[in-house]
Symmetry: C2
Subunit: 410 residues, 2 copies
């Protein structure tokens, strides 16, 4: 393990175990084990919507459940889809209940949920096209307030705005958001969307998110911060259908954003296990293929690159989460971007990630003996833990702040 990971992700913990009478549990063997990472190891989990809403049956349901088991075994966070065009295909009939079912399922399976996205020019509602810009702004604002309010407590983390760099100059087709953003400017659009979300859930974690990692994006973040917009997390997409960025580019991208001293999430991380998309494609959506198979060589490459990418990001102190995109092959662009093949079997990348996330970077059940003050000392990754002793099972957390003085009362 490299020293950056040790320094940025671990803590030397001192735990005092107290008996029911508040006296130290001296000279006893206890067991501790990690139960959750503080770091968000997430994945796009759109598949959970049909699964949790009874849309699968028979063998398909069984397969979906197996995929879900693999998801929860590895990850502690899930991104659920709120694309306006799909979430509210008929105006006034949003899929609120379906998404609540999915979000509840996630929470019961220890997955922190993020909603994605609240405002985006792609897959926005097509009825905006008949509106004036003030009407579009109102509709978009009301939609944000509705979702953030309805899901408060279930979803307290949102990609508020997606791809604002290109939003006002997006020229593939007419849409309400591009019109609005062109008139209002990027910063004022972002300001309005963040304000709408913040009003309904002041303590929510609100992200800006973009695939553009040129200076345009860090300048936009700077402009937003100067304009007083409270961005909680900077979201960076890394859809590497055309090839792994490599460590150098990844660090260079991170370097652009470190000066803000804000948490960074890699929100959409793609590494394919088949042939690479040709480099001349500019908009990934232009690459439409019927078959894009996973290959043995591709799977080896994907596994290696995944390990490298996660190690690079996990080493960086400001990165607080990585979301894989998608969990299974055949999602966006029909790409072999999954950790799971179409037949439901896992790829080497899944196994390698598991070795890191629940192996090298994880404290497995460990027996330790308390000293005469009831203390144990251990080095662990930031997150949640359980202590078991004589039929008791107590949970505790290891954070930077509390690591030196954790108390567990039996």
């Amino acid at each position: 393990m490299n020293s950056d990971i040790r320094n940025n992700r671990m803590s030397n913990a001192t735990l005092t175990v107290l008996k029911a009478d508040h006296t130290p549990l001296a000279n006893q063997e206890v067991m501790i084990e990690q139960t959750r990472h503080k770091f968000l190891f997430g994945t796009a989990a759109f598949d959970l919507v049909p699964l949790t809403n009874g849309e699968y049956a028979g063998e398909r349901k069984e397969q979906a459940e197996q995929r879900a088991d693999k998801l929860t075994a590895l990850f502690n966070a899930a991104t659920l889809p709120f694309y306006w065009a799909r979430f509210e295909p008929q105006r006034g009939k949003p899929m609120t209940e379906q998404l609540k079912n999915a979000a509840n399922w996630c929470i019961h399976h220890n997955l922190l949920v993020k909603g994605h996205p609240l405002c985006w020019h792609t897959l926005t509602a097509d009825w905006l096209l008949s509106m004036s810009n003030p009407e579009i702004l109102r509709a978009q604002t009301v939609r944000i307030q509705r979702e953030v309010s309805n899901f408060r407590g279930l979803i307290d983390m949102w990609d508020v705005i997606n791809e604002a760099v290109i939003m006002p100059i997006f020229d593939k087709y007419d849409n309400g958001l591009t019109r609005l953003c062109k008139e209002m400017g990027r910063i004022n659009t972002i300001k309005a969307m963040f304000a709408a979300a913040r009003t309904e859930n002041p303590s929510a974690i609100l992200l800006i998110n973009d695939f553009d990692v040129s200076p345009a994006y860090d300048i936009l973040v700077e402009g937003c911060l100067e304009a007083g917009i409270q961005i909680d997390v900077i979201g960076i997409q890394s859809h590497m259908h055309q090839g792994y960025w490599g460590v150098e580019k990844t660090l260079k991208v991170l370097d652009q954003f470190t000066r803000f001293n804000l948490p960074i999430h890699f929100t959409e991380t793609t590494l394919v296990s088949g042939q690479l998309m040709p480099p001349e494609i500019v908009d990934l959506n232009d690459y439409q293929v019927e078959h894009w198979p996973t290959t043995p060589e591709g799977e080896s490459r994907q596994a290696e690159e995944t390990v490298q990418h996660y190690k690079t990001l996990f080493s960086h102190p400001l990165v607080k989460g990585i979301t894989w995109w998608d969990m299974s092959d055949g999602g966006w662009l029909n790409a072999p971007a999954g950790l799971i093949r179409k037949d439901g079997t896992i790829k080497p990348a899944y196994e390698e990630l598991m070795k890191l996330v629940k192996g090298e970077w994880w404290l497995a059940p460990t027996r330790l003996r308390t000293d005469e003050d009831g203390q144990i000392h251990f080095s662990g990754f930031l997150g949640d833990y359980a202590l078991t002793y004589a039929g008791y099972r107590k949970s505790f957390s290891v954070s930077r702040e509390t690591a030196s003085a954790i108390e567990v009362q039996l």
Copy 2:
């Protein structure tokens, strides 16, 4: 002439000529002629510094004077060099007097002067390297205040900051400004530089200037405006050593900036009359050649493209100035970018520009007869004019605001 030029650059003027006794000069023939464009047709005029400071002698002096004559015959604005490394090669010994001589010469030759640039990571003072960032900020601020104050009245237009998009990530060599900008961020750096300039000359025209015409630049401008920085003019470089942008790209670039409704200057316009620089060059400064000859074919192409480029820009209502870069061949990068060849003769581009600026877009001396109210009506380009009658010569201006009611008192 296209209708955009007519609509955006001309006015239908009504001029009332009054005799000394304030009664109308009825039914008399007068002559009017344009003397100056409101639009800034400018050029980099670095050559004027040695010329006006006695650094040329004999034949070289004669040649420089001939070049200067050609400059003043065509242009009404000049950009003078304030590159810190050259302006103050020895710390504490700035070339203030030399630049004052050049600026005075310009003013006496009806050239509006712009100083370029006050803050730039390239050609900045190398003694900044031994300073801490707070010291660099102070030195840079003091330098701006000194120049803007010393030249107030002579130079009231400044490129305050040059190439801020790349400034904090410029990685060719260490320099004080990149260090500062990396720490402060672009917007705060720009804010500090504009504040320093504004304090010393509140009515100065202050520009931001960049070669980057990607969304990064318009996002930066938006961020600056949101942060309350008063940018008077957006400066856009267009060094087309690798080939003319063409109308479509030019309009697209303009389109990015029109939403700010701020004046736009094309501050550094280059079209070469020799072979094009290879497209793979990213930083133009990397292309170093000993010989880069002007060719007959290149000169024809340059002339055509120049006409096209100036027509495109002159048609756009927000563009208020175009600066050619350089006046003579063999300047920056030794490029055949001049309107004048190394032997002092003019190229077709010079002649074509002259046909526009002092021909198609100009009111040559014209005889008109006043009506019984002493009025004449004419259509003219915005700018300054002279009326002559019976030994009198009176000047007047045609602006959007006054065009319908101009009075000239003999």
